[in-house]
């Protein structure tokens, strides 16, 4: 629709997750109006992140070094390993106070969208378990259908290894309203109920 560099930028932005053609156009025209210095800062931030940040060779979280701070911390060598889908899940669990090791799968099984076991860091996980030793593996994938499929698939792969495999409880969001919970969530929340000390 536009010529040369303008259309190139619209096309590139349009390939980003969650950005459709209309948003790509809007961002492009925003960038065109931006002072040159600001635009350069954005461009160099992208270049810098690609040059300096990679993935930890052990847990596949984002990292500046070959090993991320968590994997290089001897205090973290407890028996439990938490398996998550994305780096942002590590951040969330850190905030919640988990102090063991992590493994980032970099996605969840969704064969219809082209994400099968080969596209995830599953082989690396199995190798780690053999090399590092793990007492308890906590499956912290999302409580949606892709996350559940991933957790069940992993549980099956891990069965021969004889380690304890647990799945985080799924229930009602704290601060949420009961009436908005769907039947499956409410059913699980009931199963996972605990005794209150009066």
């Amino acid at each position: 629709m536009y010529d040369g560099p303008v259309q190139d930028l619209i096309d590139e932005l349009g390939r980003l997750p969650g950005i459709g053609p209309k948003s790509a156009q809007r961002i492009t025209f925003y960038l065109l109006k931006l002072p040159k210095g600001d635009a350069q800062q954005l461009a160099s931030a992208i270049v810098e992140v690609k040059e300096r940040i990679g993935f930890c060779q052990k847990c596949w979280n984002i990292s500046e070094q070959d090993l991320c701070p968590i994997c290089s911390d001897p205090q973290r060598q407890t028996g439990s390993l938490c398996v998550v889908e994305e780096p942002k899940d590590v951040v969330a669990l850190e905030r919640a106070g988990f102090r063991g090791r992590y493994h980032v799968l970099q996605g969840a099984l969704n064969p219809m969208e082209g994400v099968g076991p080969e596209q995830l860091r599953i082989r690396e996980l199995l190798q780690r378990i053999r090399e590092e030793g793990v007492d308890e593996l906590i499956l912290c994938t999302n409580p949606n259908i892709e996350g559940e499929a991933t957790a069940m698939y992993l549980a099956r792969q891990l069965q021969p290894l004889g380690i304890t495999v647990t799945r985080i409880a799924s229930g009602l969001p704290v601060g949420g309203d009961l009436e908005y919970a769907d039947e499956l969530t409410l059913g699980r929340a009931l199963e996972g109920r605990r005794e209150l000390q009066g």
Partner: protein
Amino acid sequence: MAHYRDSGVIVRTHKLGEADRILSVITENNGKVRAVAKGVRKTRSRYGGRLEPLRHLDLQFYKGRGDLDIVTQAETRDHWPQIRDDLDRLGKALTIAEAVDQVAQDKQPDIELYRMLCGALHTLHKGDPVLIVPAFLLKLLAHEGVAPALDACVLGGERTDLEYFDPRNGGVLCASHQRGTRISSAALELMRATLGGALSTVLEVQQATHTDEVAAITHRLWEYHIDRRLRSTELLK
């Protein structure tokens, strides 16, 4: 009529933006509807976890200007929890959903397709038949008008010594017209029973070499006619 109501089963979802999702829904009266569900990926969404694949819902849509409508209400009819908690059943259910998504046309009413899908998912909720996926695929191919010929040789019409099967030629072949791959008489019987009104007996069959054979032949037939692979079978390995 800006709003309309319908029942449907979600067969596929895509993420859209930060918190939205695009759903493909096989509906009772409006064929395949593709619709945006706003805010569903937030934990406090008023839809809860309802708008996921393999949910059967009563829905209200707002007619969009383009291909996409908008979901404005959703109530659960069935959620088949036994499917969700078992990897084999989930893999089979997702394969069935993927197959339906591949053949269903946008906004082309097809009540039979909707009923077949609900029936198959209900069966999977009740049990885990070995041949549910192959049987469903055969039924669906028949529904699409490309059922294989199973009673007589497709080249010479012979009714005996039917020992080969070839998707390209559309069915079974006798020993003298051999094309494609071999088929055992046990496998052929199961395929005939599936298309011949004896589905319930087929769904009781235990796993054996000839059930594997039926599965392999059916998937080849699917790929020949629909020209797409069913990728959800990866969950079953």
